[in-house]
Symmetry: C2
Subunit: 215 residues, 2 copies
Amino acid sequence: MEKEKTDKRDHILDVAERVFSEHGFDGASTRLISGEAGVNMAMLNYYFGSKEGLLLSLFERRTSTFHSLIQGIGNNENMSSWQKVSEYVEAYINRVFSNNCFQKVVHQELAVRRTGELADKITDMIMQNVIEFRKILHEGIERGEFKNDIDTEMVVATVFGVKAQIVNASHISSLMLGYDTQDPQNMVDKLKPRVTDYLKKLLKAYLLTEHDNAK
Amino acid sequence: MEKEKTDKRDHILDVAERVFSEHGFDGASTRLISGEAGVNMAMLNYYFGSKEGLLLSLFERRTSTFHSLIQGIGNNENMSSWQKVSEYVEAYINRVFSNNCFQKVVHQELAVRRTGELADKITDMIMQNVIEFRKILHEGIERGEFKNDIDTEMVVATVFGVKAQIVNASHISSLMLGYDTQDPQNMVDKLKPRVTDYLKKLLKAYLLTEHDNAK
DNA sequence: CAAAGTTAATCAAACGATTGATTAATATAT
DNA sequence: ATATATTAATCAATCGTTTGATTAACTTTG
């Protein structure tokens, strides 16, 4: 009977994350969110101040457990640059697949939002990833492990872009791949290993010098 | 005084395309659109029936001039598969950059899960591209020009994804690249050639067999 | 311990504002 | 003069938010 100790506040955030991901921020009414969460409408304003405050809290919850994740890989002295890239891709895809509702909300806000506190928060969050990843790439070039004419920014955009195309544009990817890419079982069994494997091979072919590439 | 013969209807579509791309479908009110277009609110319903009808008309206008563009490349017998891929990337990026407001609307609609006529229209439009591109890739494999273990669907997702990441997520790409990626001058002078060049090199490294790759 | 006071949580109801849509009247053009 | 185009005014519905009352739990006081 052990009732979960998760606050009602946390439960609202969980539901809001899902509803936002399905309808977008403007498309998801406070009535719908509170209804789905089984709480009174006024509770949203009680806990989060406003609808925008709810969205903001939603981001803060995720970003608080995020900083620790991207640390460590880049600073490891015992890894080759390619190993770092490989680990990074793995960690990134892992994180994406573990909370894809949140990822969808980010993706939507990125597509629409232009100004304000939230836009800055999202930008910061992503740019941290960008800088970290780019650092690894530059290091690989300096070491002579990667080709010296690679476009590092575009490589970063590739990893983010492929992820977005597969995970966030789910109608399309479902049709393209021939199965429901939203189904949790498919995501773990088929999609995740496939995306990870592809990205590694793709980057390997583009990044590594001829000598290393030939293994 | 020769007033442009473009119908007022067409002018509304132009404005709506921009406003939708800036605020999203739900975020853009009919009052805002009609205000920006300098017409009475009721004109939107007069011409397009409803707000959704306006969005639909917007898509029909673009897709009508679209079919002819993707034809021809795949069926050309005198081109190598790699040349076809190269031409295809060029044509695709060209089209994207020539009407990026519309591309943004597509991107947004794709991000929020919607059902109905419009969702099907968008899906059809994109899947035409997917199928055409994939056909070229398969042909390249059969000819032995491309590696036989390439993931064709993911390659398609890569081209679409990189484009989306650079063109549609403009805050991020502007910060990443160090200049305003929305500025028309920058788009033509810097962004477009860079994306095109990168995609070609990336795909070349991944697709071509070792022998061909070495030139 | 018990009465009084205090706080956070929750609710139904209503608020003013805005939404997309419609009307009925008027203007323009053919 | 008839069809088309355009307008101001208005519609019901929905939006996000606020209110005032109620409950339950904890603190303080006598």
